[in-house]
Structure formats: C-alpha cells, structure tokens
C-alpha cells in the first residue's frame, strides 16, 4: 500500500462522514459530488480506471442532477401548500 493509496482512503472516509453530517439535503448534494470525486481518485489509485471513469460521471452529474430536480419539486410543492419547509 503506497502513501497515495492510504491518503486516498483517508479522504474517502472523511468525505463520506461529511456527507452524513451535513444536514440540508441541497448542501448534501454538493458534498456528494465531492465524495464522488474522492471515490474516483481512490479507484484510480487502486488501478481500476474503468470504474473510476464510471464513478466520475455518475457521481458528479448523474446523481446530483436527479436529486436537485427532485428537491426542487418537493420544496416548490410544500411552499405552494403553505407548509413550513422541512429542515431535516
């Protein structure tokens, strides 16, 4: 295990913990993008470039785009009905 691999593992651990600790779903989406980049680095350093390529695209565009669109729909509907927005 080289130093680069250990550093990549540590960054993934930190990013993953940060994703769960951030409260607001919209902010979590951006941290999820960063987590995807950290995972991509991990896969690349462990000599799996195919998986790294898949992870880049899915983690930075594929997932956050869907989550942001769904969040917008939910908050717009809650605002229209006059309910307080969920801060969870």
């Amino acid at each position: 295990m080289t130093v680069l691999q250990i550093v990549a593992l540590a960054v993934v651990v930190l990013a993953g913990t940060t994703v769960t600790l951030v409260g607001d779903p919209l902010r979590q989406t951006f941290v999820l993008g960063v987590y995807g980049l950290a995972l991509m680095l991990l896969f690349f350093v462990f000599q799996a470039p195919d998986v790294a390529l898949s992870e880049i695209v899915v983690g930075t565009i594929g997932l956050p785009l869907i989550i942001v669109a769904a969040l917008r729909k939910i908050t717009a509907r809650e605002r229209a009905r006059g309910e307080p927005e969920d801060e969870g």
Binding site: M1, D50, V57, G62, A80
Partner: protein
C-alpha cells in the same frame, strides 16, 4: 427509541464492529497479490486470439457478454419504471413559459463555459465509446459522457432548448436502437459462429480501431443505450421539477 438510547447502543456496538473490521483487514493479502488462474488466462487469450488490449472491456463485451446483456436490460427496465412513475397524468399540464426555465442567477461565466464544454464532452464521449476494447472506458462510461453533453445545455441556456434538441421520441428511439443492437449482435454470434454472443468477427491487429472482433460494435450499442437511458431519466425528473404543474398549483 430516543436519541440517547440510540447513541448508547452505538457506543456498545460500534467499537465491537470496529475491532472485527480491523482484525479482518489486517488478515487481507497485500494489494496486487493474485493467486488465481482465470485472470492470467484472460490476459493471454484476449490479447492473442481477439487482439483486445483493455481486458476489463474484453470481459464485459466478449467473454461475459451475456452478463452485460442482463445489465443493459436492468438499466432499460429501471428507466422504464422511472418514466412510468413520472409520466404526465391527465390532471397535470405543462407550462411552457420560456422565461422561467433558465437557471435563475446563473452568471454569464457559467453560461459561456458550459457552452464551450458541450463539443468537448461530445468528442470525449465518442472517443471513449469507440476505443472501448483498446483503452479504459467503453460503452457505459462513454455513453454517460455523451449524455452529459445535452444536459450541459441546461446550464448554458434554458431547459426548453434542451427539450427541443433532445425530444422524448428521439431519446426513446436511441435507447431502443442501442438495446436492440446489442441483442442482435448476440444473435449474430449464434448465426455465424454457433454460440450466442461468441465473437464472430475477425480479431484484426491489436491497437487498431476496427479490431477485437465485434467489441467496438458492442461498445457503440451499449453507448447508445446508456446515452438514451440517462437522458430519459434526467428529462423526466426535470420535466416534473420545471414544467409540469397540477391544475391549480402555481409554479
């Protein structure tokens, strides 16, 4: 269960799990230590008999092409389910007020940079798809990069421009052509070589674009299907978020 009880349970179970995990990880072989036979056989066979240089894609599209068929149709079925769940029902209508469907607050820098990214994404996607059997990547990865190119129109302009450039019927056609082409390539193996998904085209010279049998064709078919699938999922979600309103609800 109160939060304090949950935290107490975690304080009991967490260290135990951590100890077991550390013990397990310490007993793992070193990174890169390989005792198997199958990997070495694949390395030898794929290079000499099929002239493929990317072994992962060779496994996906040649030796285990049947498993990739299952994966492609998992994607197909899940996109079908999402499109069915988020379809337009009779009590919803579309509001095509064009001014509302740009990204509010996007600066000119974002718009210009996104516009510059679109041809780069298309070029990179086509490159990754076509070089499936030669370099890391392949149909799936290149297909998503290709799908990201129209999605960048959303950043560079307005959502209605994306809908005009990538209408639903075009995306569904592209996805269906990709899925069908992949199945037909397997049938080609059955017809010309006697085994479903057997590589029936000649190997060619390693490193050339038209080498490794039918792997480039498989790659293109999978790339088309993945592009269509991801764009369908994104447009279906964005339709619901930006265009569709139940009768009586404001935007």
């Amino acid at each position: 269960m109160s939060r304090r009880t949950r935290l107490g349970l975690f304080a009991l179970a967490g260290p135990g799990l951590a100890a077991v995990l550390v013990l397990g990880f310490l007993g793992l072989p070193a990174f890169g230590d390989y005792h198997g036979v199958y990997g070495l056989v694949v390395n030898g066979v794929e290079l000499t008999q099929r002239s493929a240089t990317d072994m992962v894609t060779a496994l996906n599209f040649d030796l285990r092409a049947f498993d990739t068929l299952g994966e492609e149709f998992i994607l197909f079925a899940s996109v079908l389910g999402v499109a069915l769940l988020l379809r337009h029902t009779p009590d919803e209508d579309e509001r095509l007020a064009a001014a509302e469907h740009g990204i509010v607050g996007a600066s000119d820098a974002v718009r210009v940079l996104s516009l510059l990214l679109i041809p780069l994404l298309i070029a990179l996607g086509v490159y990754i798809v076509l070089h499936g059997a030669l370099t890391p990547g392949g149909g799936f990865q290149g297909g998503i990069v290709l799908a990201a190119a129209p999605a960048t129109i959303l950043l560079a302009g307005r959502y209605v421009a994306l809908k005009a450039l990538a209408p639903d019927w075009a995306l569904e056609t592209v996805e269906a052509i990709g899925a069908g082409a992949y199945v037909l390539l397997g049938l080609g193996g059955l017809i010309f070589a006697g085994v479903y998904f057997k590589n029936f085209l000649p190997g060619g010279i390693a490193g050339h674009l038209l080498s490794a049998g039918f792997m480039p064709l498989n790659s293109v078919a999978v790339g088309l299907e993945v592009t269509g699938s991801f764009l369908i999922v994104w447009t279906v979600f964005l339709d619901q978020a930006l265009l569709v309103r139940r009768r009586g609800e404001p935007l």
